[in-house]
Assembly symmetry: C2
């Protein structure tokens, strides 16, 4: 199976009257930004269109939802087209699968490398830095008159998925699309303030508690820190609010490998591993029954935090060699 | 006085044989990235060219100096051209002023709004997001064959001065230039890792100590924190390593005004103020004998830290209204 052309997809969209858009659970800026830009364009084209969601919208992305999102699984009884954006695996919209499948046709727009063609129509581009790039091209094929709101939603999608144009997925075309969004008057700084200057104070508190547990090995080339359920209670933070910590640990000068240990509610220890330039943490994780990528991997251990901490210290020292 | 054209500047550079480039003190990514790209281009054109500096190169920018920078004030006895980049005020290269003035001609390339024309030849563009943008255009006028190293230096200049394409100075042209740098094979991610994943552990430690002093007022709309000389000693950090703290304070959800108090070595209190969307902190600073911009301002107080802390709490409450 291969990709449809954007022109083919535009024709499919033109033929549909009732459309539901499905971003993945735990939506991020790319999922919601892409969905919002597409929903607005389809409404502008006279379609009845909604974004169907099953879990909450993160507070810092709420500005993207200008009346597009609904939790109502009964919305639209007769759906012409289901579109999943930024996800190619029905398990990532688990509670909405039935509704998704009930539409006359389905369409997938995604850029994840693990995505398989599972819809009637598909456009999966693993080279795209963000699904937002694909939405931009699709809107061009639809002859949508891009406006500022669509432009800012696409910018939000692209800037979040590229780590603000710093990750290696960023390419020439990413900047070319960003440049063209300025033609519709986007205020990139406003988008950025909405997304990045809306940090819950509890997140800052938990990060502080975690960083206070930092311990280095191998002359500072390895670094390790942890979070416990008690620390979450003390700060009022959610476990997901510790997600950027391992990245911050790796960003310290001289650090090659960072390990971050999370005590789960069932008493196991989830380990996140990151390396900077040299160490294969996928291999390290595999030794502990886990897996992942060469620079980002993880595993889950069934032991006490103290045991896990000591074990990881050893493994870090070994891996640094 | 008005700007020369890039073609005129290219002719001035072509006519010079010995050239010294002057970035400003406390160099940042734009100053050194711009200077490095220009120095490499001029050497490629057969010129004897160096970057003359008077203070150190920050560790995270050291990768940009591929043998260009020198502290040697006696380098080149007979200089054809002095070029100051990213600074338009000789006080920003104070210890090198005499050497700068001794050259046969002078040239200024800058984008700061306060810059006045002070050289024989000038290109000052207040709309440019970074001096790196001007270097890119100058190199085009010079018909330089841009290579990956120059491209990465220009990318470093632009990405740092735009807050990774998030600040309001970013414009269409900024992204267009970034896009074109991919044509010479830049590895933006490598540049990013060099710049941002080289944080001294002492910086993280002092940030943690500072954030532990956070106190909120007006239901979380105002936030205040401080650093003392003792905290610097405890962490081993430098005062300049607390500079991003006020930005982090402002990034908390619900915060409109953030104040950060620094105890100086002479016992005074330097105050940094930031606001998000509404409060004019320049006015607030003016009330305390300081000044600045509407969203970023500051002042210096001659009182104890406790007194300053209480005073600022009051002022924050007043300003939030």
């Amino acid at each position: 199976m291969k990709n449809n052309t954007f022109e083919e997809l535009a024709a499919v969209l033109a033929a549909a009257e009732t459309i539901l858009i499905y971003p993945h659970v735990n939506m991020d800026g790319d999922a919601l930004g892409s969905a919002a830009a597409l929903c607005r364009a389809l409404r502008q084209a006279g379609k009845e269109c909604h974004i169907l969601i099953e879990d909450g919208i993160p507070a810092n992305l709420a500005f993207l939802d200008q009346g597009y999102c609904t939790f109502d699984q009964h919305i639209l009884t007769d759906v012409d087209l289901s579109i999943c954006v930024d996800c190619g695996d029905p398990s990532r919209f688990e509670k909405r699968q039935e509704k998704f499948a009930a539409a006359k046709h389905s369409l997938c727009l995604d850029h994840h490398s693990t995505t398989v063609y599972h819809c009637d129509y598909n456009y999966v581009d693993k080279e795209a830095a963000a699904t937002g790039e694909l939405i931009y091209k699709l809107l061009q094929a639809m002859h949508t008159e891009l406006d500022r709101e669509m432009g800012e939603a696409i910018f939000a999608a692209i800037t979040t998925d590229t780590g603000n144009f710093q990750y290696s997925n960023t390419r020439k075309e990413t900047h070319q699309i960003a440049a063209s969004l300025y033609d519709v008057g986007i205020d990139a700084n406003r988008v950025s303030v909405e997304i990045y200057e809306n940090m819950r104070i509890e997140k800052m508190l938990i990060e502080n508690l975690v960083l206070a547990t930092m311990s280095t090995v191998a002359g500072g080339q390895g670094i390790i820190a942890y979070v416990t359920q008690d620390m979450l209670k003390e700060s009022g933070a959610l476990m997901e609010e510790t997600e950027s910590v391992v990245q911050r640990l790796r960003s310290i000068a001289g650090v090659e490998v960072a390990a971050f240990l999370k005590e789960t509610t069932d008493g196991r220890i989830k380990v996140s591993l990151r390396s900077k330039q040299r160490v294969d943490v996928a291999e390290l994780a595999a030794q502990l029954g886990g897996g992942g990528h060469i620079r980002a991997a993880g595993c889950t251990l069934s032991c006490s935090l103290t045991e896990a901490f000591d074990l990881l210290k050893e493994k870090l020292i070994d891996s640094i060699g």
